[in-house]
């Protein structure tokens, strides 16, 4: 299948939406959940500015990064039911492309991050068409394989610094008004990407495309017999879910000023993202976001507590085990069961 066909699918979906009585955008804009997402974005942006709280900014920045990773993972994991174990590859590769463009070609940050997102998204679409033929454990293994293969490639790719990686010189922060101010700019951009992730997740969930993905997640064979173009939908979901994590990867590594393979393609971060989605509630936009936020805050506490600082992954593992055994629907699954009408506000 070609990219042309895939883009046809988008055109079809978009064309289909246009026939809706109120139009796609109109439908989404007037939903309370949309406003809640916008409000969350504003709160993230405003809180640290108040009192110039750098410590709070750093904490919220990490949370925003993980909310982005988790909500995008949720598109593939929660909607289409495919466990993408190597999801961190989007983040790492996006980081590398962006950092390379900024440091070697002196591109402006926003343009570099955008190009990183688009490139990684197209690559994911291409890979997706291949590995999404696999199901279950085989797909999960293949995604780990993709992550490890790209990590090995980057570690041996001299233009990207090989195993040592790339260090940014302080000059790259000058166009943004020096390092101090650049950190604020990066923070706002990451919050914007997080907000876009939440909106995208919500838009997909309420669209016909999302309906097809949910049907695939329920029963792929039945979905195909009902007419859902399963290979195209899965690949599109995989490609779309790569875009914002790659953008955020670029912004994040621009902030840290350095990128190297083992930090960029860290599989344990992948697993933690899965824990976040499961913790909050698989398939739920609020769930993925809330899971990411809570997990990230919990980790903050654990890392700064003397006794637990080396047990963060142990606790992640125990959490995952507990969720799978006792609360497969996660936090939101529990809430939806207790108070079904919450769905009206929290998707």
């Amino acid at each position: 299948m070609s990219v042309q066909q895939s883009s046809d699918a988008i055109v079809q979906v978009v064309a289909a939406r246009k026939e809706e009585p109120h139009g796609f955008i109109g439908n989404i804009v007037w939903q309370p959940f949309t406003w809640l997402i916008a409000f969350t974005g504003v709160v993230f942006a405003v809180l640290p500015v108040w009192g110039d709280n750098v410590q709070l900014r750093e904490s919220l920045l990490l949370a925003a990064v993980y909310v982005t990773l988790a909500t995008n993972l949720n598109i593939v994991l929660g909607y289409a039911g495919y466990v993408n174990f190597g999801n961190i590859v989007f983040f790492g590769l996006g980081g590398y492309i962006c950092i390379y463009l900024v440091s070697e070609w002196q591109w402006p940050l926003a343009a570099a991050a955008l190009i990183a997102g688009i490139t990684v998204s197209l690559l994911a679409l291409f890979f997706g068409l291949g590995i999404l033929r696999l199901r279950g454990a085989f797909f999960a293994l293949a995604t780990i394989g993709v992550n490890e293969a790209i990590k090995a490639f980057v570690a041996n790719f001299e233009p990207w610094g090989g195993a040592a990686g790339i260090y940014l010189s302080l000059d790259v922060y000058e166009p943004l008004g020096g390092p101090g101010q650049a950190l604020w700019v990066v923070y706002f951009l990451i919050v914007a990407a997080m907000t876009a992730s939440l909106l995208l997740s919500y838009a997909i969930k309420t669209s016909k495309f999302g309906l097809g993905l949910l049907a695939i997640g329920e029963n792929e064979d039945a979905a195909a017999v009902l007419g859902v173009n399963t290979p195209r939908y899965k690949a599109l979901a995989y490609g779309i879910s790569a875009f914002l994590p790659a953008v955020v990867g670029g912004l994040y590594f621009f902030k840290t000023g350095t990128i190297e393979p083992s930090g960029a393609f860290d599989l344990s971060r992948s697993i933690e993202t899965i824990v976040m989605v499961m913790l909050g509630g698989i398939g739920s936009v609020t769930g993925a976001a809330l899971g990411a936020f809570l997990y990230e805050e919990l980790r903050g506490v654990l890392l700064t507590t003397e006794a637990f600082s080396h047990f963060q992954l142990v606790i992640a593992g125990l959490l995952l085990l507990g969720i799978v055994l006792f609360a497969p629907g996660g936090l939101m699954g529990f809430i939806y069961r207790r108070w079904p009408y919450v769905r009206w506000l929290l998707q």
Partner: protein, 249 residues
Amino acid sequence: MTALLDVIGINKRFGGVHAVHSLSLTVRDGEILGLIGPNGAGKSTVFNVINGICPPDQGRVVFKGQDITGEPPYRIARRGVARAHQIVQPLASMTVLENCIVGACFGPENLPMGRARDVVHEAAEIVGLTDRLHHLAGQLTTAGKKRLELARALSARPGLLLLDEVLAGLNPTEIERMIAVIRHIRDRGIAILMIEHVMRAIMSLSDRVVVLNLGGKLAEGTPQSVASNPDVITAYLGEPDPTGLDGGI
């Protein structure tokens, strides 16, 4: 009446099993064609070949004059072939309404979600699921899930409906109701190819019947002519018992 679906000389092997051999059959516009045969005769395989789940080794499938052999299931569904499964395949944690909307949205008309809703209400009314639209599909009774299979297939507004033992597992009252539903569907101009073991239903519903045995066509004709065909009786009941001690159906 013109041919809606032409199955021409299909063969399908699974390893050493020759599941279907040299089978041809035709479904005409607006008719109900019954497909019967003993267990293992290859009936469900014929369905799998028609809707693209397993392409035939040889032979062709022609729908509305177009060769659809070897196309994937989703493309064949888009052309207007819908199927109700023998083993129900509900999208379990979605509601009945959402299940049917999937059928309508991804069917031949490629409806947007808003308009799909209207079609779904119509389909649900035909099969009598209107009062359960907001139930989760996984929580329906067996009879309910069978109806859901039918409603979901109907929501696509197909040209041809493949019904794979939709009466199996239903009690006599439910069977009566389902027979009425199937007749109603045919009256709306949708052609039906149905596999069924409930003979009473096949005899009263089918315009024509094709009998399969060991993967090949054993007989074809009106329900009456097939029922009195000695080959068919032998295939179903074994060799006539000379002692007369063995009972009939």
